[in-house]
Symmetry: C3
Subunit: 307 residues, 3 copies
């Protein structure tokens, strides 16, 4: 069995069969990270280039650990002190890296579409580790795995995605992937943060989170990306928190068995109250654990997928 | 045999038996770094996260080399370009890293107490690689090893720690550890750099280094941390050097077999004259070599110490 | 067979026999990077310190990949956040690193002569990965390999090096090495970028590139290093490009089988037109591929060369 795609650029490209294969492989990988000796030799002698042209701790670390647990050689490349600062185009950087015979390029970039562009230019598989406000497919896949492990199904679930939909690549990848897998997805957030035309994805939109919380099986909170000045889209953090934050009050109306996801890093007290982030419904740390497994699965499935 | 502690946070927590075990293990490790093939498989499949939230060359490199020579997977995490800059709390960063199943977190931070805080939050062992002006236990252990290798004992030795006691985490860890092992420890430095109440550790204080040098078996020079503006605590570097620097003149009164330590990086011509730093009494480079061995020992002894 | 040198500091030090050994070893290494499992255990347990005190993507990545494909442990050390910023001298940094028992130091520095200085201070082999405006021997060796693979010989070839000779360490290393191997080397560029006295190397100088292009078997274009303000040496980039850039127009007069090299990163449209950089005569990406092989060869040949 193999994937129908050579790159992981958008969840759009993945068939339901692809998703099933990725999740099944991830479940096998998961167990490796729980062993005393957390290492298998299946990607020995493979070179994985981690090109994080935008700051990242969790995703970069997750990929690096995933690569190393499969015995691959992981090499970090950042834009700080790189040839990009010497006037080289990003395409040339990619072609140059490709000339060193890597097996996979993992790419994060602040601009939307960059991983797609690079995938067209190079022969080796490219994994999009987050591009601008566009997509973050490995996050959506780990979210899928996290929900599935607890709820045992996706089809028929009601999943509410709440907060800054406009700036969120996590939201877009999740909307597409969860709809594909048969979930009912609703969006809620301030009007200024709901992108125009998003309803075309078949997702009802709410401006009052109390309208989606009671029926939600899964609540996916998005972070206010203050480093992108997302907080200029509403009057104050306090007001945002009061109307769109998840807290004890708003959780009163939620289902007993609701689960809460958040892609991290969490702004405690802004989009989510500390007692909810750390509470019994929260799967935030499970997401991180599953992230390593999903990335191990993807690295494994793509290695050897060269043209 | 195993350590009585799960974390290395403060030398305070270590029993004399712990110290003996660490030093004995370090002596065995030392030999590995002298081989042609400097690698043993004992930590294969272990994940060591090196979280240096404060600049470091020697300590970070020492830990990374130590991890790799034991075949562990070392992953570097710095605060530059990290989720900390996105508003995440340090505790959340630590919990997230823990969710990726590391075996040890090595933590350096500019604020005192951070490694203790993280150790309470996470399940895996934490090693304090230097926290603010508080402690630097692995430095004290490597200093202990360095003295012991040359002097064959600690008990009964007179050890003079000279310079900026106030800002020095190296000084505090050494005072506690060396006293515990039976040494007589004296402090000397300008009055502005002797912390209030330090005499409670049972260490006599001198404001004239000529009073401690003649009877010292070991002289431990501290660095003037100009990057922390330590040079605002005295009138000028020249004056500091004249009164508290170790040079040919002051060394005239020292014992013939005195040994000199310095945690590095050295400010040549400030706290120590070049001819003394490079002279026959200096053990500065031995300290660095022993540092790798001590860290190999600690990584080995703590791995598998999970609850 | 072994090299006549313990360090790779300048191509000046290399005998013709050394070059032949390096290139022959590199040819064997090349094949490793084309395998499915790109890894051999020949440097297992060796520690390679990559000390890049000046920004670099391609060279650092090339060395790191080279080290890892030979199973060596590669440790990155940069000047950002290092003890250099704490006032330590570079010599002390080097002596400290040496005390951790590395097998090779790879050094890049913005100042000319630093690798030579460090090689005198430390016992382990040092590889110059580019020092200021002085030399870049591994680049010259990979250029040699690239030419040889296509032209099957060096002696008797006419090689034109074009552009900013003044600031280019690539030019100097290539002039010396190519002349040593019997090539005829010509230089061309604006008068302001031809260093005084360079003709002593036995290289004719031209201020009009059309005078060298027709007879050149190899054209080596140099980059305008705008990050070093090299563009203040001529009136405008447009004028530079018009008179000294390689484009369709100037290529009309070139030999049919001419090959084009460029050390990268390329300033497209400045020293070379995009259609030429990507064209059939260009060996720019072959240079990158050969770079990994040459560095694997050097790491292999120098490991174990300790005094």
């Amino acid at each position: 069995m193999s994937l129908s795609v050579r790159h992981i650029l958008s969840v759009n490209d993945l068939t339901k069969k692809d998703c099933a294969l990725i999740l099944k492989t991830a479940q096998n990988m998961e167990e490796i990270s729980e062993r005393s000796v957390k290492k298998v030799p299946i990607l020995r002698g493979k070179t994985i280039l981690l090109c994080f042209f935008e700051p990242s701790t969790r995703t970069r670390t997750s990929f690096e650990i995933a690569a190393k647990r499969l015995s691959a050689d992981a090499v970090n490349i950042s834009s700080v002190g790189s040839s990009l600062s010497k006037g080289e185009t990003l395409l040339d950087t990619a072609k140059n890296l490709e000339a060193m015979n890597p097996d996979i390029l993992v790419v994060r970039h602040a601009q939307s579409g960059i991983p797609h562009l690079l995938a067209q230019a190079v022969d080796c598989p490219v994994i999009n580790a987050g591009d601008g406000m566009h997509e973050h497919p490995t996050q959506a896949l780990l979210d899928l795995m996290t929900i599935l492990k607890v709820k045992k199904r996706i089809a028929g679930l009601h999943i509410a995605i709440i907060g800054d939909i406009l700036h969120s690549r996590v939201a877009l990848s999740n909307i597409i992937l969860l709809k594909k897998m048969g979930a009912k997805v609703s969006l809620a957030g301030p009007a200024s943060m709901i992108p125009l035309g998003i309803e075309q994805f078949g997702v009802p939109i709410f401006y009052d989170i109390r309208k989606v919380i009671p029926s939600a099986d899964v609540i996916m909170m998005l972070r206010i990306q203050r480093e992108r000045e997302a907080d200029s889209f509403f009057p104050s953090l306090r007001e945002y928190s009061r109307f769109f934050g998840l807290n004890k009050e708003t959780m009163k109306h939620a289902k007993k068995d609701v689960v809460i996801l958040h892609p991290g890093p969490v702004n405690r007290g802004v989009e989510i109250a500390p007692e909810i982030a750390d509470g019994e419904h929260s799967l935030i740390l499970d997401q991180v654990t599953n992230g390593v497994a999903v990335r191990m699965a993807l690295l494994y499935l793509l290695c050897g997928a060269k043209k």
